[in-house]
């Protein structure tokens, strides 16, 4: 039996093939996703308004940048299979990542191990299947009742993220209190200042800013603890 906590196992054939299959599935899914506008234009017999698309360049560039930052930032957290699946199925920060963290927390998995990679992949795969099926089933009442069903359920939609991150926040705070509390304080000040100036930076921007600020403070704390250790040893 191989050691499930051995960190060198990432270089084995299993992980190489995880990447290979991930690239194949990503290429297929990207192609099919890109075909949707083409098929729509052919079915409707219309052409898009290219001038409008070109005039949206700043929006497109900013979202391309956010997507890239998210893919890089989530890479250490999602595992190989989880990363490929998450960036095809979406809803990463509000569904796939919390789901993977929940599974890791329940099973008390040590991060950075092959066990953690496997459990994360299982969690993201199951989550993707469940979500895809629920959305497909949801089409039936939407087709029958239309907007009426939306009116009944819509009041809860803005509160799903606080409902997830309140509970998950307790779990993360208990695990990473030192690494979380300083960026939380800094970002709270940033948010209050920007909101009081009438600026709303948006949730996805704050998520990116949060990770950058947290990485900087985490790295400073890491350097300080290394210096303290060196002083003690010296």
């Amino acid at each position: 039996m191989e050691e499930k906590n051995d960190i060198n196992v990432h270089n084995n054939d299993f992980f190489k093939s995880q990447h290979r299959y991930g690239r194949i599935f990503t290429a297929i899914c990207l192609f099919v996703i890109a075909m949707v506008p083409v098929i729509y234009c052919l079915s409707a017999g219309v052409m898009p308004e290219w001038k409008l698309i070109l005039s949206s360049w700043s929006f497109i560039l900013s979202y391309l940048a956010i997507g890239l930052i998210e893919a890089i930032s989530f890479a250490p957290l999602l595992g190989v299979g989880g990363q490929y699946m998450s960036f095809i199925t979406g809803n990463v920060s509000n569904l796939k990542l919390p789901c993977a963290l929940n599974a890791q927390n329940i099973l008390k998995i040590k991060e950075g191990t092959e066990e953690s990679e496997i459990i994360t992949t299982i969690a993201v795969a199951v989550s993707s299947i469940v979500t895809t099926i629920i959305i497909a089933i949801g089409l039936i009442p939407l087709a029958i009742f239309g907007g009426d069903i939306v009116k009944v359920l819509e009041p809860v939609t803005p509160y799903v993220i606080p409902a997830i991150f309140g509970g998950l926040g307790i779990v993360l705070l208990s695990k990473y209190f030192k690494l979380t509390i300083i960026p939380l304080a800094i970002l709270l000040v940033v948010c209050i200042v920007t909101f009081s100036l009438g600026m709303d930076l948006g949730q996805s921007t704050m998520l990116t800013v949060g990770m950058v600020v947290s990485l900087i403070t985490g790295f400073i704390m890491y350097r300080i603890s290394r210096k303290k250790e060196a002083k003690k040893a010296g």
Binding site: I33, Y40, I119, V160, P162, L215
Partner: protein, 248 residues
């Protein structure tokens, strides 16, 4: 509501099937590998059931998102868009680049234009995975082998950063929301700041209470259900509060 074409439903079904095939493929491979490296059947079963259970409640707002978008794009396009990369907030901003939500009559060229903008804007993540992710992941593995503590700091910082970014935004937006003038053109329901803060507090309290029960009574079974219970209780509370006249 714009016309739905059968061809779009067919390609939507192809995408949904491709996603399920990809997920099943990775699930079966991961389960096989888990057995090879000695992860117990109980652990695998717990990972599957807890993830399935966890995913049900947060998936419902995605269906509601399809319902919100269908009056502008028909039923098939929102279904596809919310089944693949992206999320409701992003899709609404993306489709509104052609001001589709403000139009009295939505034409097919407008839908096509919105669809292209929505599709192009989200491809950077999958493209990164396609061309650079393996190399990047190998660098992370090298870092883990050479300096595990630094990688642990990076991982912890990223998780802490997600929490810090979201929590600070939720709290600050909630504090300022009661003062903000509701936008009559807004496509989605605007959050009430007080309800947001109460939901956040209830979610934290329920999770703490579950943790307490697990410790005091050694209810290990509750570990699997703590977060789903927390989410359901806090969303139910938010739903109830949304009908309280004081929060209207």
């Amino acid at each position: 509501m714009p016309k739905d074409y059968a061809s779009i439903f067919i390609i939507g079904a192809v995408i949904a099937l491709a996603i399920i095939a990809m997920s099943l493929f990775y699930l079966l491979r991961a389960v096989k590998r888990a057995k090879e490296i000695g992860i117990s059947k109980d652990k695998i079963k717990t990972a599957i059931t807890s993830s399935a259970l966890f995913s049900i409640v947060p998936s419902i707002p995605i269906v509601i998102g399809v319902g919100i978008m269908m009056s502008f794009l028909g039923l098939a396009i929102p279904w596809i868009r919310l089944t693949v990369i992206g999320a409701l907030q992003y899709e609404i901003i993306a489709m509104d680049q052609v001001e589709i939500t403000k139009m009295a009559v939505i034409t097919e060229p407008m839908v096509a234009t919105a669809l292209i903008i929505m599709t192009i804007s989200i491809v950077s993540g999958p493209l990164f995975n396609l061309f650079f992710y393996e190399k990047f992941k190998n660098k992370l593995v090298d870092l883990q082998n050479n300096n595990k503590r630094l990688l642990d700091t990076i991982t912890g910082s990223l998780l802490g950063g997600i929490l810090a970014g979201l929590a600070s935004y939720i709290i600050a937006a909630a504090i300022f929301a009661p003062k903000a003038t509701p936008n009559p053109d807004a496509v989605t329901v605007t959050a009430n700041g007080y309800i947001t803060l109460i939901t956040l507090a209830i979610s934290m309290a329920v999770m703490l209470f579950c943790g307490l029960l697990i410790k005091l009574f050694k209810w290990k079974w509750l570990e699997n259900y703590a977060l789903p219970i927390t989410i359901i209780v806090s969303i139910a509370a938010a739903y109830g509060l949304s009908f309280v006249p004081a929060f209207a």
